[in-house]
């Protein structure tokens, strides 16, 4: 299975797809991310958990080029990567579904999906018809009930908007996928489709960072889970080695029961 595959790649000491080393960033006085290290292997799903404001989104935004880190380094396939802008991240095949979705409300689904990477005709003009056709294809897989192709995304429901954001992240053959609460607005059926999608992408060898507050969902989807609190990394554990309660106590208490031989 894919899970064992990624584990062997990790245990055999293969190079991680992504390695974040001692990443820090502060906003004014707030140390939003404080010397956090984390890695991700091909075909692996790593979950990020933590209370509101723990620094999860900020950490992944550093990887996606939205923020510039104050210190630390990022390695992609074992090589130092300079990611100073979203365009840099895209060059490393990093795709991101942001918590805020980052959609231009006045544009339709196709324009959003291809924003910054428009398909063009031989004359260099944007090819709206082809982009819409491609959008119809990919959304048919993600959300078969999606119909509003020619309306601005402001006219879409929260779940439909989320589908557009997911479609954008998976369309461009990402190698590293960042999903910040991708199912927060989705119905049961659509959530299931995203879970299937994650399995499928994982099987294709993508590395996925997944952020969610749903501990049970995370235990099912992830290979490893990391817990952050107040900008610091509490710990990273393989899901087989911990229980949901262990995770919860890491989130709430900020302590890792597995690593503390004798609790005080």
């Amino acid at each position: 299975m894919t899970r064992t595959q990624s584990q062997t790649s990790r245990q055999a000491g293969g190079t991680p797809l992504v390695e974040l080393r001692d990443i820090s960033i502060a906003f004014g006085g707030v140390q939003a991310v404080d010397r956090v290290s984390l890695d991700l292997y091909p075909g692996e799903v790593v979950g990020l958990l933590g209370h509101n404001g723990a620094g999860k989104s900020t950490l992944i935004k550093i990887l996606s080029g939205a923020y510039r880190k104050d210190s630390g380094e990022i390695l992609i396939n074992g090589e130092r990567a300079e990611i100073d802008s979203p365009a840099d991240a895209r060059r490393y095949n990093i795709e991101t579904i942001y918590q805020t979705l980052a959609l231009a409300d006045n544009l339709d689904a196709a324009s959003n999906l291809f924003l910054g990477r428009e398909l063009t005709t031989p004359l260099g003009f944007v090819d709206d018809a082809r982009m819409e056709a491609e959008t119809r294809k990919i959304l048919a897989r993600l959300n078969p009930n999606f119909r509003k192709f020619s309306e601005p995304v402001s006219a879409l429901s929260g779940g439909q908007r989320q589908s557009v954001a997911i479609a954008r992240a998976v369309y461009f053959n990402a190698k590293i996928l960042i999903m910040d609460e991708p199912t927060a607005a989705l119905g049961v059926h659509e959530t299931k489709m995203v879970a299937d999608l994650i399995q499928e992408l994982k099987a294709q060898g993508l590395g996925i960072f997944l952020i969610s507050h749903d501990t049970r969902e995370m235990m099912e989807l992830c290979d490893r889970v990391s817990v952050m609190k107040n900008g610091q990394m509490i710990g990273t554990e393989r899901v087989e080695d911990v229980t949901e309660d262990d995770i919860l106590s890491m989130i709430i208490m900020g302590r890792n029961p597995k690593r503390e031989a004798v609790p005080a």
Binding site: P86, A104, N106, S111, E118, G124, V126, A133
Partner: protein
Amino acid sequence: MTDHTGDTARDNVAAHGGQGPRRGNLFARFIGATELDTRLLGMVGALALIWVGFHVYGELANGFGAFLTPRNLWNLTVQTSSIGIMACGMVLVIITRNIDLSVGSILGFCAIVMGVVQVNILPQYLGLGHPLIWIVAIICGLLVGTAIGAFHGALIAYGGIPAFIVTLGGLLVWRGAAFLVARGETISPVDPTFSLLGGGPYGSIGAAGSWIVGILGCLAVLALIAFGRRQRVRFHFPLRPVWAEAVLAALGCALVIGAVLLVNAYHWPRGIVNRYAEAEGITIPEGGLEISHGFAIPVLILLAVAIVMSVVMRMTRFGRYVYAIGGNPEAAELAGIDSRMMTVKIFAIMGFLAGLSAVVASARLNSATNALGELDELFVIAAAVIGGTSLAGGVGTIYGAILGALVMQSLQTGMVLVGFDAAMQRVVVGGVLVLAVWLDILYRRRSK
């Protein structure tokens, strides 16, 4: 393509699975099937109201309705071109949530620069009337306008100064600079070829030329409709019914041909005909010689600007990014769009168009004064907003802005015709600007 208000009607059709128009009264069916923008129709209605209103008012008050005459309407098109050209740029500025209060002053400064270049500088080196003079002068004017715009854009994008402040400063700086350069003097007369760009009998293309433009226009209308239909067939998108396509084609062509008939119905004044006949050695036949004006060159310049800018906005990445930045600046950044550079480019385009407007405006006056373009910023912003550009950003069209410019200029011309004085004109223009924004807000609230 729903990146502008123009496609709301199409969406109605699409939302109904393309099973033809909705039920309802005849008008709703017509709108649904032709996918015409209701807002556009509203503007056309307002325009008709203004035209007929002023005409009837003149009829009643002065015994002569001077508005709906070929002469007045022809003049209206020429007067609209200067504002219209700048409104095409203002749309981009406002869509990206900025404002440019300096366009009138940039116009004035560019006009003075071109005046000095073609009257005071070049003749010394090239000799008076050299064919290069007007070309070099225009290039200088356009470069200066573009540079000023880019400079404003850079202060806004990289300096982080709000556009309102930068361009308010620009409003004063460039007006003052125009005065300083010319020491307050009026520069005239401009180069004879240059002055053709302002219109007038010689600055128009005549009857035959206008028919050629008209026929090209009709072909373009047909080609656009045919191309649109082919694209929809190719990707299996819902189609308009054939009768609706036919109605649209007929409407479009009728509009173009109507415009040609109108501009050709306005003949040269007798005095100019006589002078022309004398110069060309033509004997004037019995009953007089009738020479049509046809389209004025500044109107054709506006047309060209409108076509280029519409293509840029609807069919290029640049245009798509303008809308994206207006819709959600953060999303645009995250999509890898360099919005600072975009801001510089947008203001540079605005400056270029102000320079082009300066060509038209000073050519029409046959002189450059440092007061040229005063208060134009108000008219241009009003034109864009009346034309459906949302001050909240993200929404606006080029054709809307030009219609808006026509509305503003119609008001202005109409007030002059019926004899309102300057003070009254300002009261009305100011009131209309606020009213237009308010109506826009109501319209958007309702359509949400």
